[in-house]
Symmetry: D2
Subunit: 438 residues, 4 copies
């Protein structure tokens, strides 16, 4: 890599952009950036300009020699890049709103990363991501792609299966746990090592080492856990957690506390709408702030947005690859034969040592057999979803939905599928091919 | 084995007994029986006498030199036996009624072989079966145990893991499909070969060869399937079946059509009660018939009972082992590495060649990846259930229930577990140990 | 399949042909043949005519309505065939002679199916077999190919990996053991069931059931074993066999008794030449006999040829596929996950139930861990050999030879490779490409 | 662990002791040692005193507050230890001499860590090591055992299978490669990361990253490699190495260059004796030096001894465990499912991240299929050897030897086994049990 790096941020008009800019500025000494390209699509042009100009002001304030480019030309942004990050949302918040609302109307969890909502988001996103991969293969074959577009596990697996791009999937949930753990014991993040078993948004923390000592037993007894802005906070049942012997990610509440979560979703929907509606309002406020010509730093309010530390995770990963740092990060990579009950090409979320050649996974020390069935079931759904996204085959999409643990029956699956495909028609060209219309 | 065999039937007072007697009589030439021992417990004494006397009349009518013994002394029945079959029901129909009623009251499938009901049946049965195994190990170490006590998959796996008894698990569902297939094409059962992928009460038929030709594509298109008396008949969705590419056992309706099945259960419960209530009435009628001193054959009405062909399956298996027949039967045996995503000691339901040394499994020709997650999830539940049955550990029992795909949440799992353990208190000594009472 | 079958025999000029003809005649009632095509290449035309005319006389004598065709046009022979068998020898006996002589001169086992000799035979044969497969794919896509060209394991695996032809590999070694076992106990072959673990020409018999009883312990103690005409008979060491707990195929003497076998080979080479030389003489005598216009049956002397029962095995397999017979035969098929330490696409030699859809493998009941390393090592050699045969890559060929357990060092491997490739130049177009000459 | 550590060195009278003492002194700031116990057996008392006194002088010279204890009481040395290292040699150099001489006399590689010599060393050592483990389990259950007694892979696996002691196996070969690589590119060891695939003394370097860049292709072309004092230096064949695509450890010359190595061994044996004889002379000289009361540092001459950097590796590992350092070291640990063709409990040599809870293996990025067979074959030998060592079963020992790739036949294996067991009689109580003598 050249000493001065070129970085392309796909979906640059995202409200998260100030966070990643802050990260680049903070890490400049370890990872000098020459060019920073924010790219978005025509519909996102307005937001790109607002947040892009804030980015320019932030860089100027820092005094660093980083060029900031705003563009709608994806190929120009990608050409010769060292890193490409993806943070775009196909269909924007309007599509997310549907992903959440429609399932809830049918008595099913409506969430943007799992269940029927996550599936539709995947069907919209996978073809676009693979299109981006074609550009990277051609214009920046040595670049690393850091994906943090959700559902990150599915998207990462689709890229690994269907392109030659070097890619890693990222989520902020593991870094959140590590920060929680460090805070809990009053130590630095370097002194904790948590082990994560599972796949994206479906992991269990099975070990929490602080200064070389295993703290899991006392964490399980204390009933403490970590959570996030985008998932409602209902405590875990103490007996359940103790007999589980591991701490589930907060996303697992959709699976283990389905009734409570669904009731809460229904109540919210009637009152203020779903998370998409909340995010819409937060985003509007954020972009109002971003427009302020005097603002030259990431505003505090961005922390309400939910994806805390996403950008920190991304900048950490780039810095470690660039510097061959050999530190441990929790990433989404291909399974190989780490979990012998999952296919070799399945994406998993796992601790890795990050080298200049990319991440090398660490073998999990124990995999609770309790959770293997659930992991496997969700992975089957994910693999069928990828196949459906690429082929546009409704039968495969139906199988994906039926075999998702949150979908109660074939009858409901069919209703949801019909309604949701129709609602997403314009983003699903493989499902609605021209000839099919005739 | 001695030319004249000794056979012990545990739970001999079952209403099914006339069927197995009929089978023994019909197969006598290929498998000559010297002694037939029907054993039951004190509470079953009355039924044992009624059905046992019918058995004696049936044998007398046949003119065959088979001795029929009725006893409450299990050890005497087992000593020196060549085959031991288990068809007992711990807790009798009263316990089954609870297994079905309690879950339905909580909005969960109430069924005697799967879900919370199946779990409680397993918790009651496993310790008793292992007790029987201790007797077999001591008194008839060369005997084969044929288990057709439900949940047959769990019981068979518990025996394989915790005893040295040579055992096989049996279900009538596969033989039902083969008979359906033969009837459908107007051929003899010898001319069909169906392939079953899965575990007990959770299998998929992936291939149906009739006279050497694969008929699966036309079966899927025709929407035909097989069913049974004890499972309500709702047709499969045609799109679903076609995209699945396999025919699910009727037990899979609890998983794929949960809403329909549950609604039906609730309606039945309010009207006539559950299947346990129906069976109670059928049994009463049967035993009335059995009392008839003039009856010396299996009455037609037994076919209403639900377990059609169970006894045929059992007699077939014994005859093939005895004669080293090398025919193909679908049985419950240990996995080995047939399914690489399940543990080696998991019980699976699979085609086997039956030799004088027991069954040898045939490698499944294709395993649809769609269904691996569900198979794995239910197997995790089964393994936790066995562990709970043996240890009496409530935490493990809770994990089993939570991870069963039919249980909607930790909250419901805890309520069900508390209520159902309490209701089964007298049959669960490992859970309610004396010291725990103090 | 049409009621009257068409069968194509590639390498029809082989001295074995009268045996397969005898088999077809004997099995006619169960498998009616309409057309029998014997095809050979220009260099084999003379032998084809001699043995083909004997075949015609044999059929005429039988009075059966089978047409016998002799041709040099392979495509005509294959078009519309139901079964294609391959029994050709690329390079004829002259090449075999080199395969045997050259290694012995370098102090290495010289054998036509394993070691350097087997490798060169594979390098010559694989491209020709795949060429035949191209014809079958085009002209007889539903045909089964029965391969009994050596090295049968490698050839079968190459076909499975690189063509869509339905194929099975055949060897006479398993049927020889079954006949030995039946003779030993004075029972019919139907009453024995032996279990074979391993790959072609590298198997171990781990179980020998006679009328439902395991006879392996007494066979191991008795020191009895089976052997064949083409492998010298030296007895196994009794302590070795007992501690091994299984009976190795006679081909394993090349691995376990390398010193004795090599000394014998050297002595023979100096005296009468190797097996190729013996076979040359036997063949000459056989063809003299075959020329006799009065001969209309398989002459006794053919049994000296070594491959006893090969044709019986082939005819058995065809008959069972044609009749969906569900009997057990030992065949070479793809591993799947039967042996978890070998790749899924590796060919293995294993008991199968033969159906109208082809063979379904039976799971081996026990795999002695002692022999896994040797099996794995030879399979690595086989896989590298296939890759070398297809690519013509000398580096891969070198790796294959170096990693063969019978080759003592890199130095010897290089010498052998150079010399043997050169000696086989005209049969190895992928290694000696035109451009490489320039 | 207490701030001041207690360390027990079993086989403290070894000539290597000054090196480990130097390491402890150098690393004191990161790993403060309170007590250093050197323990040996009666026969080693004299050497223990000489080298122990040198150790005391070295510590005194350093000015550090470390207590040095010399003892013949193993239990006292172990009680309460934080780390136990094993560097003893059962049978001393006299036994090594036999391990090397006897095989060579039979035309087989005679080496102390592999082949028949390695096997006999293992048979002598495993029971003693397990005896030490019994003491550690009782007296220092939290201690880590660092084993660098050869054959380190076998010994480590025996400990993992048959004790509860937390243990790691160590070899200096990987650290030698890393130092070679760093020197080659003129960088610090922190800037290189090599990947090792294989098992102890049978590994292949498959990747060599220097400052984030893969250097393997140029290393293969350059023909450079690493070597060691105890293995004769014959260069690798360039074609072989290039087509292998990996750099074999120098121990692999016994397998890949058997003829050259054996010829060299025979020549040496006739001239100066084997390595055991050389080491005897070197040791005598070293102990003469050690006696010098003025010597208070590790003498230069120790570097001739062969095991260069062994102690550095050991001290590094202890320091990383003590400090939860998360650095990468190449260690011998249990396989789990890293190599899917080896048993889960097999020891393997692999890169690990070292934490306060011990090493966590990194998943190998590529495993050349060429070498899997050889790895598997040697592992089979290793596992049979462990079983033989524990049971004293000659049949199993014979199977181990027969299946070792360096042993040419059953005949030779039997001769070697008889002669070598007899020669080691006094160190093999399980093979020569009292009752067997009667």
């Amino acid at each position: 890599m050249a000493a001065g790096l070129k970085i392309a941020v796909i979906g640059g008009g995202s409200s998260y952009t100030p966070e990643i800019v802050e990260g680049f500025i903070r890490n400049y000494e370890q990872m000098p950036i020459r060019e920073l390209w924010f790219v978005d699509i025509e519909e996102g042009k307005h937001k790109l300009e607002i947040v892009g100009n804030l980015a320019k002001r932030m860089v100027k304030e820092s005094g660093l020699p980083i060029e900031v480019h705003l563009t709608l030309d994806r190929r120009q942004a990608i050409a010769g890049a060292d890193f490409v990050t993806t943070q775009m949302r196909v269909g924007l918040l309007a599509a997310r709103k549907q992903d959440e609302h429609i399932p809830i109307m049918h008595g099913v969890i409506g969430q943007e990363t799992t269940g029927p909502g996550g599936m539709l988001k995947a069907l919209r996103t996978v073809p676009v991501i693979l299109d981006i991969c074609r550009d990277i293969e051609e214009l920046a074959p040595n670049a690393w792609m850091l994906n943090f577009t959700n559902p990150a596990g599915i998207v990462t697996e689709a890229v690994a299966k269907h392109s030659k791009v070097k890619s890693v999937g990222l989520c902020n949930s593991p870094i959140n746990f590590q920060k929680f753990l460090a805070a809990e014991y009053g130590v630095s993040e370097k002194d904790v090592l948590a082990e994560f078993v599972g796949i994206n948004h479906l992991h269990w923390v099975t070990s929490a080492i602080v200064n070389g000592e295993e703290k899991m037993p006392e964490l399980l007894d204390g009933g403490k856990s970590y959570t996030a802005k985008n998932v409602p906070t209902f405590g875990w049942d103490a007996d359940f957690i103790r007999s589980l012997g591991a701490i589930p990610t907060y996303y697992l509440k959709y699976f283990y506390m389905t009734d409570t979560m669904l009731a809460d979703m229904k109540a919210s929907l009637e009152k203020d709408g779903t998370r998409a509606d909340v995010v819409s309002r937060v985003e509007q406020e954020l972009f109002e702030l971003y427009k302020d010509e005097n603002l030259a730093e990431k505003p505090k309010q961005l922390e309400q947005r939910g994806g805390a530390y996403y950008s920190e995770a991304a900048v950490n990963l780039m810095t470690s690859i660039y510097n061959d740092r050999h530190d441990i990060q929790t990433l989404n990579v291909s399974n190989g034969n780490i979990y012998d009950f999952l296919p070799a090409d399945a994406s998993i979320e796992i601790n890795c040592v990050v080298t200049g050649q990319g991440p090398i996974p660490l073998v999990p020390q124990k995999v609770p057999s309790h959770v293997k069935g659930l992991m496997h079931a969700v992975k089957v759904y994910e693999q069928l979803t990828i196949e459906a996204a690429i082929t546009g085959d409704r039968g495969i999409a139906l199988q994906a939905l039926v075999h998702h643990p949150l979908v109660p029956s074939v009858t409901v699956a069919k209703q949801l599928l019909d309604e949701m495909l129709e609602a997403n028609k314009k983003y699903l060209p493989t499902f609605f091919k021209p000839e099919a219309v005739l």
